[in-house]
Symmetry: D2
Subunit: 142 residues, 4 copies
Amino acid sequence: MGNMYAAQVRVRYADTDAMGIAYHANYLVWFEVGRTEFMRARGVEYAKLEAAGFMLPVVEAQIHWRHPARYDDLIDIETSLAELTPARIRFAYRIRRHEDGQLLCEGSTLHGFVTREGKPVAMPRRAPELYRRLEALVGASV
Amino acid sequence: MGNMYAAQVRVRYADTDAMGIAYHANYLVWFEVGRTEFMRARGVEYAKLEAAGFMLPVVEAQIHWRHPARYDDLIDIETSLAELTPARIRFAYRIRRHEDGQLLCEGSTLHGFVTREGKPVAMPRRAPELYRRLEALVGASV
Amino acid sequence: MGNMYAAQVRVRYADTDAMGIAYHANYLVWFEVGRTEFMRARGVEYAKLEAAGFMLPVVEAQIHWRHPARYDDLIDIETSLAELTPARIRFAYRIRRHEDGQLLCEGSTLHGFVTREGKPVAMPRRAPELYRRLEALVGASV
Amino acid sequence: MGNMYAAQVRVRYADTDAMGIAYHANYLVWFEVGRTEFMRARGVEYAKLEAAGFMLPVVEAQIHWRHPARYDDLIDIETSLAELTPARIRFAYRIRRHEDGQLLCEGSTLHGFVTREGKPVAMPRRAPELYRRLEALVGASV
């Protein structure tokens, strides 16, 4: 995945379930951590996007769980910007156990560009500079 | 606890942890369910409070866990309004396993009356009618 | 969806996020509530499955978010058993706002049959009676 | 608080609520992160405690929320071991906004030493070496 760098989280007790593994819904939260840190590392902080009046609600997700994460595992979240249109942005993720690189989960999330009121917006018209910076990241990975 | 009625929740897999029991932080969420349903049952919907410009952030909590709740347990959340001042409101909770009434957890939360911007407000001056309705509930329990 | 009946949850403050809507990962938890209640209504309690030595970890999910759910919304979770093989089971979900039936989210989850140690098991060989009961539910919906 | 060092977390979108602040129950999760990293830093990994047959369920908590944490805030979790008896251990916490040191939350959690089956155990008899190491940490802070 090109120039490798990944956000990291450690599995908390709060994340586990009675099967003794990380509850599956947490991976969507870790995807959030992944794309947030991906954007921060590239100079496009999500908090600043919001300050500029944009939000990126999730409209679609695909997730494949390969192996369970367990309590106290350190995990790497690899994120890439898979697709960008004036209306939408897709991120792809690979979550690995840090210790041995074992792939735990793969997935993607599709987000729409909307105003604070939830109206779709054409990103390039409203924020051409920001859009160009996002375009430059397509295919790149943190 | 006077006229008995309690909100109910069922322990979800998502609520459990690797000890095989409900993760302790969930009880604060169940307290939220308890006070929300307590207020709804008494005609003071929390959503309407917010619509009227008030918020009740939690400023203090005490929690005693007595026995663990387990996956799929049906639990009863007994809520009472323990204390009311112009600036603050305290709820008290008892969480029981529905099947046998076993006490699982006791606690209380203290909330401040604030505006949407987080400024403290004197409830009786800003919403005298609502304050009187809350006063009538002190000591009562759902 | 045939004989209609749906599990219900109410959106908690805990479920909301700073966009003022239900955080997207909660829908996976509501899917869990949906399939649990679907199975309970059909006499196949998930807790008993586990007691019999089986677990059904999620291996895949697809989710489409259509409209946001908001604080205090009552929502209906419609669940159906979409697919069953000796090794896997797929549930499909539609989440609607109870008040007006507005579709909020659609999705599916694929689960493997595994032992408590995580080994795949052929359901029909290990639990023929239970498998037949599940087969009878394919296409049905709660 | 002596030799200062603190675990850090960043407030996720998942942690926020419709008030635009971190939902209060998350602080109990951050307390968990605090004591886990406190113990790891001192060579007493919680995961190893569990491997040795002990668990430390929370039996009591007191929490005071002082100021809200917001999305994307970096926060420091200062943890100390406040009290140790053969049967129980208490941790104290201070959560601060990293940027300016603003105190956001204070609290403590009391835990019992129990076996995997939930029976109380006298720590010094069952694990004298480990108990001595914990004793040496009373009053220290990470």
